[in-house]
C-alpha cells in the first residue's frame, strides 16, 4: 500500500509499505512525524523554531533537542565535504533544509522499522530510503530521472537497502549558464545521484558533489562506501568504479 502527501515540506512525500501486517496507523504516525519536523524546521513558516532562531528570538541555550541534532549533523557534513555542504546562507541566516529532508526520511524509515515493518520505501523529492523487498518480492528499483526530460528515466538502479539521492539544477536545453563566468566548466554537471550509507548521508553527498561541479564525481570516487552517477549538460554520464554493483539485482 502506498500513500502520498503533498502538504508537508513543500514536496510530495510517498510511503509504501508492503508488509502483510500493515496498518493505517503506520502511515498516520509516519506523516505526523514528518509534519512535526516541517513545523519546527521550515524557513517558510513564520513561527517555526528555525525562523525564530534566524530572527534572534531564541537563545542558543533554549534551542530544542532536534534543532541541536540537525545543526550538529550539518556541521559534521560541512567538515566531511570540504566545506561544500553548508547550511549558512550568504545573508547570515541558517537554512538547514539540506539536512532536514534526508534526516526526516531516515527517521521516518526508522519509525516504520520500530513499528515492526520490514519491507517499505520512504521517498521525498527523489531522496529515497528502502528496506527489504518491494511488492513483487524483488529488490526495490529506482529510476534516475532524465534531467532533460522529466518523463524519462536514464538508468535503473537497485539500492539494496542503501540510501539514494539526486541533486541537480533546473535545466531546459542550453539555457543554463553561469553569469559570473560563462566559460565556467562547473556548470556542465546537471544531475548527481549518490547511492550508499543511509538516505541522510547520500543526500548530503549528492548536494556537495553537485556543488563541486565536474570534480564531484572524483570526490565520490574517493569517498568510501558511496557510489555516484553524474550527468553533464551534453547528456554524458560518468559513474564511479563501484556503481555497477547497484545496476544489477
Amino acid at each position: 500500500m502506498k500513500q502520498t502527501r503533498t502538504d508537508i515540506m513543500g514536496m510530495p512525500i510517498s510511503i509504501e509499505i508492503v508488509d502483510a501486517n500493515l496498518s493505517e496507523e503506520s502511515f498516520t504516525a509516519a506523516f505526523e512525524y514528518l509534519s512535526e519536523i516541517d513545523t519546527r524546521f521550515s524557513t517558510y513558516k513564520f513561527d517555526s523554531e528555525i525562523s525564530r532562531i534566524n530572527r534572534g528570538e531564541i537563545k542558543e541555550s533554549n534551542w530544542s533537542e532536534p534543532v541541536k541534532v540537525v545543526f550538529a549533523l550539518a556541521e559534521k557534513a560541512r567538515r566531511e565535504t570540504e566545506g561544500y555542504f553548508d547550511i549558512h546562507q550568504p545573508n547570515r541566516t541558517i537554512d538547514p533544509s539540506g539536512v532536514v529532508k534526508g534526516w526526516a526520511i531516515k527517521n521516518t524509515a526508522a519509525l516504520l522499522a520500530q513499528r515492526g515493518h520490514q519491507n517499505f520505501m520512504v521517498e521525498a523529492a527523489g531522496d529515497i530510503a528502502v528496506s527489504g523487498m518491494n511488492a513483487g518480492g524483488g529488490e526495490w528499483s529506482i529510476g534516475i530521472r532524465n534531467p532533460f526530460n522529466r518523463e524519462e528515466i536514464v538508468k535503473v538502479v537497485y539500492p539494496k537497502g542503501k540510501g539514494i539521492a539526486t541533486s541537480g539544477s533546473y535545466v531546459r536545453g542550453a539555457h543554463i549558464y553561469n553569469p559570473h563566468d560563462a566559460g565556467d566548466a562547473l556548470d556542465t554537471v546537471v544531475s548527481v545521484t549518490v547511492i550508499g550509507g543511509d538516505v541522510l548521508e547520500s543526500d548530503i553527498l549528492a548536494t556537495a558533489a553537485f556543488a563541486m561541479g565536474e570534480k564531484g564525481i572524483d570526490f565520490l570516487e574517493r569517498t568510501d562506501g558511496f557510489e555516484g552517477y553524474s550527468i553533464t549538460k551534453d547528456g554524458i554520464a560518468t559513474q564511479t568504479s563501484g556503481f555497477s554493483a547497484y545496476t544489477t539485482i
Binding site: M11, D187, M212, E221, R222, G235, I236
Partner: protein, 168 residues
C-alpha cells in the same frame, strides 16, 4: 641508466595506455553525444510547442512549473523579467521569466548553486578511469524515481517574483 630505462618504459606505457583508452572510447562518446544533443533539442522544442499552444500531449504529464503557468495565459505583459535571488540551501537561485504573447514561454536560470568558494582545494590524486556513457531512455517500470528536484522552493520563489513583475 637503469632508472632512466625504467622511466622511459613507464612513459611509453602510460602514453600507450592513454592512447588506447582514447581510441577505445572517444569516437563512441562523440557519436552518442551528437545524437543525444539532437534528441534533447528536439524534445525541448516539443515541450516548448506544447507550452505555448496548449496542445494536449499523449503522454501522462506531471507538469513542471513552466508547463503549468501558461494555463493562466494572457495575464502577463511581454518581456523578460528577472526574479529575486532566492536562497536554496546549497547556494542562490535566480531565474528570469520570458513572456511572449502574454504567456510564459521560457525560464532562464541566471544563477544557480555552483559558484562556490573556489578557494577550497580538491585533492587531485590519481583516479581510475571512470566509466562514461551517453544517457538513453530506459524502461520506466520502477518503484520510484530519483531526480533533480526542479520544483525547489527557491526556484519557485524566484520564478514567482519574476511573474509578479510580469503581471499586467
Amino acid at each position: 641508466m637503469k632508472k632512466f630505462l625504467l622511466a622511459a618504459v613507464l612513459i611509453v606505457a602510460s602514453v600507450g595506455y592513454v592512447f588506447l583508452q582514447r581510441s577505445n572510447t572517444t569516437p563512441v562518446d562523440a557519436a552518442f553525444t551528437d545524437s543525444v544533443t539532437t534528441s534533447i533539442k528536439t524534445s525541448s522544442t516539443a515541450a516548448q510547442a506544447n507550452t505555448t499552444t496548449s496542445t494536449p500531449t499523449s503522454k501522462p504529464v506531471s507538469p513542471t512549473p513552466v508547463a503549468t503557468k501558461p494555463k493562466h495565459a494572457g495575464q502577463y505583459s511581454d518581456g523578460t523579467y528577472t526574479g529575486s535571488v532566492a536562497d536554496a540551501y546549497y547556494g542562490n537561485i535566480q531565474v528570469a521569466a520570458v513572456i511572449s504573447g502574454g504567456k510564459l514561454t521560457n525560464v532562464k536560470v541566471l544563477q544557480y548553486p555552483n559558484d562556490r568558494d573556489t578557494s577550497v582545494e580538491i585533492n587531485q590524486q590519481a583516479l581510475p578511469m571512470l566509466i562514461r556513457e551517453a544517457i538513453s531512455a530506459q524502461n520506466a517500470n520502477v518503484n520510484a524515481i530519483s531526480g533533480a528536484s526542479d520544483t525547489s522552493p527557491a526556484f519557485n520563489q524566484s520564478l514567482a517574483s519574476a511573474l509578479a513583475k510580469a503581471k499586467a
